[in-house]
């Protein structure tokens, strides 16, 4: 699984970001790109020593300054499930066997974010 697929699936989920300088940012992911530049909302910023805090409405973090991100555990299974579904859909679309799309259409016509959201709702941060 690609790190960026995990990050994309983490949209609107809580996450912790530590920068290379040791500062940390806790907030909900608003958006991200392939450079791992991210925007967070409702952010709690902590300095490297962990003794000073700031509350930010929103912030933008350049991807190259990030050390690591911590995301909800439930996201891993959600992304794996979504990938299996996409693979299945691709196979049946290419016509693996006649009449094989019965019953699969229903699941693949669900919005992409559905399973991710569902798995998230069932678990908790």
């Amino acid at each position: 699984m690609l790190p960026l697929s995990l990050l994309n699936a983490a949209q609107n989920k809580p996450m912790l970001v530590e920068l290379k300088n040791g500062e940390t940012f806790n907030g909900h992911l608003v958006n991200c790109d392939n450079f791992m530049n991210i925007t967070l909302r409702e952010v709690y910023q902590t300095n490297a020593d962990g003794d000073r805090f700031w509350k930010l409405k929103e912030c933008y973090i350049r991807g190259s300054t990030i050390k690591y991100l911590r995301v909800p555990d439930a996201l891993l299974d959600a992304v794996k499930e979504e990938q299996n579904r996409a693979r299945e859909a691709g196979r049946s679309a290419r016509g693996g066997h006649i009449g094989g799309t019965k019953g699969k259409v229903a699941s693949s016509s669900l919005p992409k974010s559905y399973t991710v959201q569902k798995a998230w709702d069932e678990a908790h941060w």
């Binding site: 699984m1 790190p3 995990l6 290379k20 050390k67 911590r70 995301v71 555990d73 891993l76």
Partner: protein, 95 residues
Amino acid sequence: MSSLQGYVDRRVLLILQDGRAIVGKMAGYDQKSNIVLSESKERVYSIDEGVEEIPLGLYLVKGDMIILIGEIDEVLDEAVDLPSIRAEPIPPIRY
């Protein structure tokens, strides 16, 4: 061509530039050696206390920060009594 593919779904040890040692299962990686680690734990080494394992959960570590990735021999690793290990922590890289 060297590849990380052989490490996928295995337990690995990451050493980061700040000296941290993180163990976890490698769930994925990309061209830039960004790593997805599940069930990850930080191993904190010190001279006057045993090794402490701090659970971290699902981590996405940037490739820039990684110094080494090593596969863990699970049998060997489980035989190690971490609380009895005393060791100097790895200092962070200084430029």
